[in-house]
Amino acid sequence: MNPTRRDLLIAFGATGLITPALAQHVHQALLEVKSLDPGAAYQPKYLTGHEYQTLRRLSDLIIPADEHSKGALDAGAAEFIDFLCSRNEKLAQIYTGGLAWMDATMQHHHQVSFLEAKPEQQTALLDLIAYKKNETPELLAGIRFFDWCRRMVMDAYYTSPVGMADIGFMGNKALSSFSVPQEAVDYAVKRSPFANS
């Protein structure tokens, strides 16, 4: 499922306000639906509104909400990155430069910004820059930027309550005793080379 489309449906489905114009103005629409996640009320400290929304969209593509769990938007990934950009010039330059590269590249191919592009145009670009094997002089800067972006979105996600829930982290609690569940031991041994020993 395309999360942007789903967000739009949730936001506007009840009132039946889905129009062709809306589909062409994803940027605007995203601003409208931002109240669906905690980061929506966040005022960017460093990035411009457009940069911040582009980053939110990117984070949502990298770690989307799906049938298993919530995604990067609910983990506050864009807020985390914007906050650190406000504290570190080098990082800020990586993100303003990288986001501008995304826009310029999309502009070059489709005459729209990354945020305004259709979801399939957005993923087509990510399919190029999300893999080192695609490295060409034209894509190198994008690949490098995406690597930063994926790393920090993953960092933000898995250090958040929703990310910890996704992988099932249950620790750092005060316990009166420690034990190891036998079913977990049996599960691993059965699948190991020691199953019959």
Partner: protein, 570 residues
């Protein structure tokens, strides 16, 4: 006008440094009714403020990256959530390394020193570790032997609280143990692999309380010992030794007090300690009858070398020229592996005590045809660790891409990797030492250290053996090696010297004043009221972490000093 403030009183004993050795000295002496003044170069520790063991990353905006994103640019010296314990580089306190060497010097500047965060692995040295030359002709025998040390290991273990089991293995002598803790799932697989390969995997010996001892609460199994422990259920000299000593009224603690020099009188005894009060940048002196230097191996050597006088032109107690020599660190090499049998493991809390629940003691002691002397132990990592920044970066770059598939990949592999870390013995060599760099002083004008460090073939071959062993363990588990766990320090096949943070040997013991600095009581041959109580007296650095032996040896030294004071000899 420059004026040095001198204390009117004369302290019975001044202890310099508050880590494992200083803390033990303070505890033993104050328990015996002796007044002690303790100098610590860093601030007082406040566990309720300084320890963050139960914080989750999302409780701070930067999630642990540091307020200025330091982590992302390699500028974070230590994890944000870790106990405040020290750094590789301290502003205003430089050190240098000779061009043909690599060495990193970790220093702590806080009450309790490195014991606030250390791994708490607590292994007795074995009989042959005290007599290495007699064992295989390498190194130097200690003037003490295992039988003399054993009662002090008993005292140290009983007081600190060490988990373990009696195994009857010569390379891993048994001690006074608290109940062990059950092995985690991945550790049980390592045990099975060990059985197949003939490698013993036994309950770990760790200074965490599986039972309450000496008024310290039993462990609550949050697994965050490296961040410090507010309940003092993991041993630290600050909480277990120094805070209780402060309550006796026998201990005076001077924090932010950086020792500059030991001053000797005409008779050649230490009469005062000169130090910088960092808060006011003033020079002070405290007069003393006895001094115990426990500033950490290299810092203790530096203090002696910087204490020059007409009687001791080469540095205090350094007639032998041995101060700074025989610098050692533990060898380190580690491999990570992916274990498919652990993929999708049913979720549970695998924290337990921080660090490993089982380990591998050296198991080839009797094998004579290997190509390196002595040996190493293996530390085992794995489980469902608390997600931290960077924890899944390797997953991201290996799988690449984005979207739900990336999430599935991380979820499947979470908890399915293990790490095996070798910690081995370095044989002291003539190329490894520290000396004063007269061209550089620190911000208080104290001349700094220059390091020379070289691994020999012994250590290089040992690390190769680690690589082969770890590969075979991982593959026997049905797994694949994913790479070196710490490429930043082990890329050349063995750790950079100093990075395992087990420095020792710079103020060595011996019966002969021509070849050693300290006698069998860790008392300077040439200066009878000067004692050393950290890892500096260690004649060798076996494959057993240094802290337990620092505590046991300092305990013995302190009892000797107290007995001498009682007899009127000190």
């Amino acid at each position: 006008m420059f004026q040095i403030q001198r204390s009117p009183q004369v302290a019975d004993v001044v202890v310099i440094g508050s880590g494992a050795g200083g803390g033990t000295t303070v505890k033993v002496l104050t328990d015996l009714g002796i007044n002690v003044t303790l100098l610590e170069a860093g601030p007082m520790l406040n566990p309720s403020k300084d320890f963050k063991e139960h914080m989750l990353p999302y409780e701070v905006d930067h999630r642990g990256a540091g307020p200025n994103a330091e982590r992302y640019f390699g500028l974070q010296q230590w994890g944000y959530f870790e106990a405040p314990n020290g750094y590789w580089n301290i502003p205003g306190e430089p050190y240098s390394v000779s061009p043909d060497s690599e060495f990193s010097w970790f220093r702590s500047r806080i009450l309790g020193g490195r014991t606030n965060h250390y791994g708490r692995i607590s292994l007795r040295f074995s009989d042959y570790d005290f007599k290495p030359y007699s064992f295989d002709g390498l190194g130097t025998d200690w003037p003490v032997d295992y039988d003399e040390m054993s009662p002090y290991y008993d005292k140290a273990e009983e007081f600190m609280g060490i988990t373990g089991t009696k195994e009857g293995i010569r390379s891993a002598p048994d001690g006074v143990f608290l109940p062990p803790i059950p092995p985690r799932v991945h550790e049980q697989l390592v045990m099975k692999a060990g059985k197949r390969l003939g490698i013993p995997v036994i309950p770990s010996r760790m200074a965490m309380l599986t039972k309450s001892v000496h008024g310290r609460a039993a462990c609550h199994y949050c697994g965050q010992c490296g961040r410090g422990c507010r309940t003092a259920s993991a041993f630290s000299s600050s909480q277990a030794m120094i805070f209780p000593a402060m309550k006796t009224g026998k201990l005076t603690v001077l924090t932010e007090a950086m020792a500059r020099e030991l001053i000797v009188d005409a008779s050649g005894k230490v009469s005062a300690v000169s130090y910088v009060d960092k808060r006011t940048r003033t020079e002070k002196q405290i007069r003393c009858r006895n001094v115990v230097v426990a500033a950490s191996a290299c810092e203790s050597a530096r203090l002696l070398l910087n204490s020059k006088s007409p009687l001791f032109p080469n540095g205090l107690a350094n007639g032998s020229g041995m101060v700074g020599r025989n610098l050692t660190d533990t060898t380190g090499y580690s491999l990570s592996g992916h274990i498919p049998a652990l993929e999708g493991l049913p979720r549970h809390n695998s924290d337990g005590i921080g660090g490993m629940h089982v380990y591998v003691p050296w198991w080839l002691l009797d094998k004579r045809n290997k190509d390196f002397p002595r040996g190493y132990h293996i530390e085992i990592g794995g489980g469902f660790g608390m997600p931290q920044l960077g924890a899944f970066s390797a997953d991201g770059s290996q799988r690449a891409g984005y979207g739900s598939g990336l999430k599935d990949y991380v979820r499947q592999r979470y908890g399915a990797s293990i790490s095996l870390a070798g910690r081995g013995e370095m044989i002291p060599n003539e190329h490894s030492y520290c000396e004063i760099d007269n061209s550089v002083v620190d911000q208080w004008g104290i001349p700094t250290l220059k390091f020379h460090f070289r691994w020999s073939d012994h250590e290089i071959k040992q690390a190769k053996h680690m690589h082969e062993t770890f590969t075979s363990i991982i593959e026997t588990m049905g797994g694949t090696v994913t790479g070196i766990t710490h490429p930043e320090r082990e890329a050349k096949g063995v750790s950079v010297g100093g990075t395992i943070i087990h420095e020792g040997g710079t103020v060595c013991m011996g019966d002969d004043p021509k070849t050693s600095v300290l006698n069998r009581w860790c008392q300077a041959h040439e200066v009878k009221n000067l004692f050393v109580a950290d890892a500096a007296p260690f004649n060798g650095n076996p494959d057993k972490n240094v802290t337990l032996t620092i505590v046991a040896l300092a305990w013995r030294t302190a009892e000797h000093l107290a007995a001498e004071m009682k007899k009127g000899n000190a």
